[in-house]
């Protein structure tokens, strides 16, 4: 069997950034496996601006951002295989993949980094009643048709869900001459970034209907229209508010699901909230030597955060391969419900540690607090937090040393 020190699954921003970081930390025998015909991941179809503000302090398009990492991967001569899909990994760190040239092959790795990204939630999961015509796509599929293939999947459009891809596609379709009639969001707030609501909807007078959903689908061959309706507090449709909108296309932007089939089949522990692996501060999963980063770990809104997280994982994997340290601590990171999830979920080595988390609702004038049992060990005021924007806090190593319950809880408290 072929052996490689580090196998990275997925050549999107996470995979590339992890590869570069591992290389710079001293691991030279790396292989990136990517099923697409080029590196870059989902960024290849994000031809809009807005990437890289944090990382490069300039506004790049998705392909430009990806190209910077691709250039670095090539400069360091890190090997990668395209059109190669990983079919299976196991706890012995054997990676089985398939491509046209080599057929099915298995590689024995010392460490693996999972960077498979995520996929969009399809219509079936939403249980919308009605017929099953053509013309219903996830926003990302529509983005691929428009930006990669050069085709228009529709002319008059309703969008369900106000995730970022949906917002960006509202603008894109409008610029291509389509009429976007409404963006309906089930929740009382948008799950997208504020700047996208401003630049993609308001600037084009596209109505954002909150607490609103698609109740029924109409049409035989191609979509002919949808019935939309408002929902009550329990997200049940209010029948009196039903309204018919004629349209030939329904785009869905109802959330992203980390692509963890390989992870689950390998028996790696999954966090039920993030739908990604349960990891420590190095992004090491419950299986030693297997790391995860990027959208496969939890859904990020900014690619800059993906790159940063991937660097952490890349360094962690390098450390694992070159000089494995014993774990010096075991602290569980819990959340209070208002904070929905937190990554990492475990701290196994004391040092300055950044926690990334999302809240479950919009909260104003709050204090982010971290508790060790009843003892408050960290707090920070915040004017507003929203589910659409990932938050982070840094806990100093000397604070973590003091933790004696083996568990900390990240939460929110209302400011008096």
């Amino acid at each position: 069997m072929k052996t490689t020190d580090l196998v990275i699954i997925g050549g999107g921003p996470a995979g590339m950034s992890a590869a570069v970081a591992a290389y710079e930390s001293g691991v030279k025998d790396i292989l990136i496996l990517e099923r697409d015909s080029s590196l870059g991941g989902i960024l290849q179809q994000c031809i809009h601006n807005g990437f890289g503000l944090h990382k490069f302090s300039e506004e790049l398009t998705g392909p430009e951002y990806a190209a910077r990492y691709e250039a670095r991967v090539k400069e360091l001569k890190i090997p990668y295989k395209l059109n190669t899909m990983v079919l299976e990994i196991n706890q012995n760190k054997e990676v089985t993949a398939i491509n046209s040239e080599e057929g099915i092959f298995t590689i024995q790795a010392k460490a693996i980094i999972l960077a498979m990204g995520c996929r969009e939630r399809p219509k079936g999961a939403l249980n919308i009643s009605g017929t099953r015509p053509s013309g219903i796509f996830t926003a990302g599929t529509a983005q691929k048709f428009v930006n990669m293939m050069g085709y228009m999947p529709g002319k008059s459009v309703v969008i369900l869900g106000s995730g970022d891809i949906g917002l960006i596609m509202a603008r894109r379709m409008t610029l291509e001459g389509a009429k976007v009639k409404a963006v309906c969001e089930l929740m009382p707030y948008s799950g997208g970034l504020e700047r996208n609501i401003e630049q993609c909807l308001r600037d084009f007078d596209i109505p954002l209907k909150l607490s609103c959903t698609v109740a029924e689908i109409h049409g035989k061959d191609r979509l002919e229209g949808v019935t939309i309706a408002n929902v009550d507090k329990n997200r049940c449709i209010i029948p009196e508010t039903k309204e018919y909108i004629e349209c030939d296309t329904l785009l869905l932007s109802c959330g992203l699901i980390p692509e963890n089939e390989l992870t689950k089949a390998c028996g790696i522990n999954i966090d039920r909230i993030t739908n990604g692996a349960d990891v420590d501060q190095n992004r090491e999963t419950s299986v030693e030597g297997i790391f995860a980063c990027g959208n496969v770990l939890h859904v990020h809104d900014l690619v800059d955060n993906v790159s940063e997280e991937a660097e952490t994982a890349g360094k962690g994997a390098a450390e694992y391969i070159l000089n494995r340290k014993n774990k010096s601590a075991s602290i569980r990171v819990k959340t209070d419900g208002k904070v929905r999830y937190c990554v990492p979920q475990r701290i196994t080595d004391i040092g300055d540690t950044t926690l990334f988390f999302r809240v479950s609702d919009i909260y104003k004038d709050v204090k982010i607090i971290v508790k060790d049992g009843e003892k408050e060990i960290f707090s920070r005021k915040k004017q507003k937090v929203a589910p659409g924007e990932m938050e982070s806090i840094m806990l100093k190593g000397d604070i973590l040393t003091e933790v004696d319950s083996g568990e900390i809880t990240v939460g929110l408290e209302k400011l008096q």
């Binding site: 399809p122 990669m148 293939m149 999947p153």
Partner: protein
Amino acid sequence: MYDIAIIGAGVTGAMIARKLSAYNLKICVLEKEEDVSMGASMANSGIVHAGFDAVSGTLKAKLNVKGSEMMPQIASELGVPYKNNGSLVVGKGSDDFQTIKELYERGIKNGVKNLQLITSREDLLRIEPNINDDFDCGLYAPTGAIVCPYTLTIQAIGNAMDNGTELKLGFEVKKISCDNGIYSIVSDKETVQAKYVINAAGLFADEIARMAGDDSFKITPRKGEYMLLDKECSSLVTTTVFAVPTKMGKGILVTPTTHGNIILGPTSVDIEDKDNKATTQEGFDIISKQAKERVKNVPFGKTITSFCGLRAVGDTGDFIINSNLPRFINVAAIESPGLSASPAIAEYVADMLADMGIKMTQKADYDPYRKPYNYFTKLTNEEKNELIAKDPDYGKIICRCETVTKGEIKDAMLRNPKPTSIDGIKRRTRASMGRCQGGFCYPHIIEIISEMLNIPYENVTKFGGESFINLGKIKEDV
């Protein structure tokens, strides 16, 4: 001129065509849709019923039991997914047990083998650990099975075509006349002539019969809605779990499919419109309520799609297989257990034809076998590598959820009956049938269809007609 024209390419028409293709007869199958198996044969529970349910003495009972017995061999000849998973009726309390005993006795009368009465919760749990707490009795039918209904239909038609049968798709029968013993069957596009006609038009069989002058029966549609769960949930149940039947019907069943998903349904609602296949909120509510009653922790959040099938309900309570006009056979009101019965229905119809005096001599070169679809994942790694070495497209995964290769899709497009749409490819290869429901692979499947059929990218449809995926090019390209 054909010896026999079969109207309708559902499982009934398909199995009849396959049966008759073994004889030296010139046969054509006429189907109004752009593919076969687009009616009830596409959207049903896929159960090969053991046969304890049908009223003893009816054609339904007789053909059900016989058809179920024939199914394993036919499925294996045709490379159709089939699994003998067993059926389990679950009940609680003495009223339920009374009904279950009646089912048991009826089953024995119908000739169902190895039926077992279950009288304790422990025995129930041994078969199906996720049955809800208060259930304490049941009927276990080890001969109950599941089959993939549309693959069966596609493969039966394909096998008939391999053996010389012709298939005309997009042929909607509008008029039938008979002159000098020859039937003329007319669509907008063309007219087909045949000596014998077999009416297997499902929901529309009454209208077809009426076109020919037979007004003896009426078909009404009865809706059945379903929810399909992700393969991740496959351990929920292994047998087909039925409710104790009531006056209201058989209730919602919970069953695995041959592909490892879990299916919940069907509802049962009489409707007027034979084209109304819309799912409803009420349907979802009934399905979730009833499924929950019997099975613990049904993960509704893992629903990947929902759909609806229409039963062709006749006015006699039984299958209507008869002939009221010379050389014209109705095979109508084939509601459940029509799928299970289909192999036996085909034999029954062949016997009727023989009785009518048609000359049936066996073809010397008749071949009953078909290569399966969706075969790649089932091969050993050595076999996979051999295929990839021969055709590198087998190393290219198009559908990541179901691991379908470009090689399989191309192969499916070259085999009869040839698919021309995304859904046609989906039913054959399972590409786009997994958890992302095509989000990832649509753009690639369209590319393959466009390439193989040599049609523009934007002309590719989801299921024929006006079901286009793209409506034009973007501005820059205009």
